[in-house]
């Protein structure tokens, strides 16, 4: 395929993940010219091969990375950037778990309610209709059974997945400690639809769904291309071009050369790190601190969710690993104020080792191996959690002053640490997780605590949304305060991140952005 630039287009989208592909699709459907550039490849077919690569430690990586292209540095607490995202058509939804909850009302009003963080310039009510559209776009299966959950205007588009055998065991313990549970919303088909089959139960959702039942942005890319959008893979955008007031296009490098794509509008949708990095890389004499950065907020307020978990074993079958997704979660701790940190509990269906994982790592075989596999599979239970991290300007993405990537550009440098509030939230989650397991008679065997925690691969906050141009990068429509034909899609615009998996909110904001942008383009052409 040609990776040459098209003539000047109405819209250039940078990044073919869920944010970029949803905007591209809707702008193309509205009749405008759209080009999408993605730094990574188009991963063709081979999903079951990728599953085997995941299950067999002797095989290659599931989603191959390029160590030079994906190089990065960290300072403070180590941030495993390359392992926490996928570059390619579909983006990180290729590897995501598929959990698709809405943020809660509290998440939009954190400062007003509790005096910490910042408020969003949108309310839950503003975003609610877009959440409904996002759930339809992603095919979310769920049930409106969350106690005090955010109000819904319509059922989920897919019927819920029933609670698992271990959910039922853990629900008894949760009830004993006063933790109410509800059905986890899942962006995977609980029944066949026009564009995807029902879940086949391969059990490897993260990092790959061989059946295609789990939503990936490839589905939306297909729709975008059907509507006329042109999607170019292996096209790394390196600089945004401008005339002082407006963006004029972007320079990108492909395996065969360098090109400039001109565009009337640009949507930056390359993820929570690359969005900021590209704006910083596009610095010039006119904008020495980077593009769209009069606020100085580009790259700052980098946040993620932290994982907390407790696991153990009981003397009965817990039927783990039959599927690869969670079916029950809880927001019982979400609105607590000591500390003010969102906590979402997740009841795992994949606790303990997989049979094939033990079989291929044990070293034995025959009857001895069978017995070891059976013993290791055992009666595992675990409760995980996502913990909110509040925005901190010193947690940030910068350009590394020394290391460069395969194109000779400075790599991202992630400076990241945890504050005491986040640590206390992790400890609070651990206390409740442990209480639930002990209530069902489990022997606790492991804990992921505030020392051993790691990020949940939800990069947020680096081009934050707000109404004040001196404190934020984009306005409530996700449009740059400084460059009015620059728009930013994705979790980098989140002012705060709550403790809910971000992809549904990314999709809702992207659909809303696309609607605004379609109106702007129509007006400009009038």
């Amino acid at each position: 395929m040609s990776r040459e630039a098209s003539g000047r287009v109405d819209l250039l989208v940078i990044g073919a993940g869920p944010a970029g592909s949803l905007v591209a699709r809707d702008i193309a459907v509205a009749g405008h010219d759209v080009v999408v550039l993605d730094a990574g490849p188009r991963f063709e077919n081979g999903r079951t091969d990728r599953m085997e690569a995941h299950l067999r430690p002797d095989r290659g990586p599931v989603w191959p990375r390029d160590p030079e292209r994906d190089a990065y540095t960290t300072d403070g607490r180590h941030y495993p950037l390359a392992a926490s995202r996928v570059k390619g058509v579909g983006g990180s939804t290729l590897a995501w778990h598929g959990m698709a909850p809405r943020l809660r009302r509290r998440d939009f009003e954190l400062n007003s309610r509790h005096g910490v963080g910042v408020d969003w310039p949108l309310s839950y009510v503003d975003l609610r209709p877009w959440y409904a559209r996002a759930e339809r776009a992603l095919g979310v299966a769920g049930a409106a059974d969350a106690p005090e959950g955010p109000p819904r205007e319509e059922p989920y588009p897919m019927p819920p997945f029933p609670p698992s055998a271990s959910d039922r065991i853990l629900a008894e313990g949760a009830e004993q400690v006063g933790v109410a549970t509800y059905t986890a919303p899942n962006a995977r088909n609980s029944k066949e639809s026009e564009d995807a089959p029902a879940c086949a139960g391969y059990g490897t959702c993260r990092p790959v769904c061989p059946s295609g039942a789990k939503y990936t942005a490839e589905r939306t890319v297909t729709e975008a291309e059907a509507a006329g959008a042109r999607v170019v893979d292996r096209a790394a955008v390196r600089r945004l071009h401008h005339n002082g007031d407006q963006l004029t296009g972007a320079r990108y490098t492909t395996p065969t050369g360098e090109h400039v794509q001109e565009a009337r509008h640009v949507v930056l949708a390359a993820g929570g790190v690359e969005n900021a990095r590209l704006l910083l890389l596009s610095r010039s004499d006119v904008f020495p601190d980077g593009l769209a950065n009069s606020s100085g907020a580009v790259g700052r307020y980098f946040t993620d969710h932290l994982f907390a978990g407790v696991g153990g074993q009981v003397d009965k079958k817990t039927r783990q690993h039959h599927v690869g997704f969670h079916t029950t979660e809880s927001s019982a701790l979400y609105d607590e104020v000591d500390p003010v940190v969102g906590i979402k509990l997740e009841f795992l269906n994949n606790a303990g080792p997989t049979p094939v994982g033990v079989a291929l790592s044990d070293g034995s075989w025959g009857d001895e191996l069978r017995d070891r596999v059976a013993a290791a599979y055992g009666g595992h239970l675990a409760v995980g959690a996502l913990i909110e991290q509040l925005p901190d300007p010193d947690n940030r993405v910068r350009l590394d002053p020394e290391q460069t990537d395969d194109n000779g550009d400075p790599v991202p440098r992630v400076e990241w640490s945890l504050d005491d509030r986040t640590r206390r939230g992790i400890e609070r989650a651990n206390d409740v997780q442990r209480a639930i397991l002990e209530a069902v008679g489990a022997e606790v065997t492991w804990t992921v605590d505030s020392e051993t925690t790691g990020p949940a691969a939800h990069q947020m906050g680096t081009t934050r949304m707000g109404t004040d141009p001196t404190e934020s990068v984009v306005d409530p429509d996700c449009r740059s305060h400084d460059m009015r034909n620059l728009w930013v899609a994705g979790s980098s615009v989140f002012p705060t991140g709550g403790a809910m998996n971000p992809t549904l909110t990314i999709a809702a904001l992207s659909l809303r952005l696309g609607d605004h942008l379609a109106g702007v383009l129509a007006e400009e052409k009038r």
């Binding site: 085997e52 997945f161 609980s190 059990g203 690993h321 069978r370």
Partner: protein
């Protein structure tokens, strides 16, 4: 517990590197080292497992289709093992007792070797024979039943069993 062609087809669906069309037939390809692989299967599979000849034949045939490199590598490792079997045990691999096959695999180091497709004989044996066979077994419905899971990861067994 008998492995079936259906188990092999399920394992192939999990392996995915081949077209499944035609794998369920009965055509016999004498050039594939089916007997050698089945002999290894008998050594590395639990003793109550039966039916591995048909299972292995279906699995290897499906795995080999259109995968020239895999097939050549499998032929080579089978030939190398047979050469050692003849030298140490005075007979080809399929002619050895189960205990002798087990001893042979351990003597060449397949029990401790890292699985590497282009490594030493021990590493290639681990990669192309031991691990491939264990992967096929423990992602199949029958292999899952052996250890207490009806729908093991890697097997598309649907979404009914997890909530029973």
């Amino acid at each position: 517990m008998k492995l079936t062609r259906r188990d092999a087809m399920a394992a192939l669906a999990g392996g995915g590197s081949v077209a499944l069309a035609g794998c369920g037939g009965n055509e016999h390809d004498p050039s594939l080292p089916i007997d050698d692989v089945a002999a290894v299967a008998e050594a590395v599979y639990p003793s109550e497992v039966t039916g591995y000849q048909e299972f292995v034949e279906t699995y290897i045939r499906g795995r080999s289709r259109g995968a020239t490199g895999y097939r050549q590598a499998l032929d080579q490792v089978a030939a190398d093992l047979n050469a050692i079997a003849r030298e140490w045990f005075n007979g080809p691999l399929p002619a050895l007792s189960r205990a002798d096959r087990d001893t042979l695999l351990r003597e060449v180091g397949a029990d401790t070797a890292e699985p590497r497709p282009d490594g030493t004989l021990a590493e290639r044996t681990r990669y192309y024979l031991v691990n491939d066979l264990l992967y096929a077994l423990y992602t199949s419905p029958t292999g899952g039943e052996l250890v207490g899971i009806q729908n093991p990861p890697g097997h598309p067994g649907g979404t009914a069993s997890y909530h029973r």
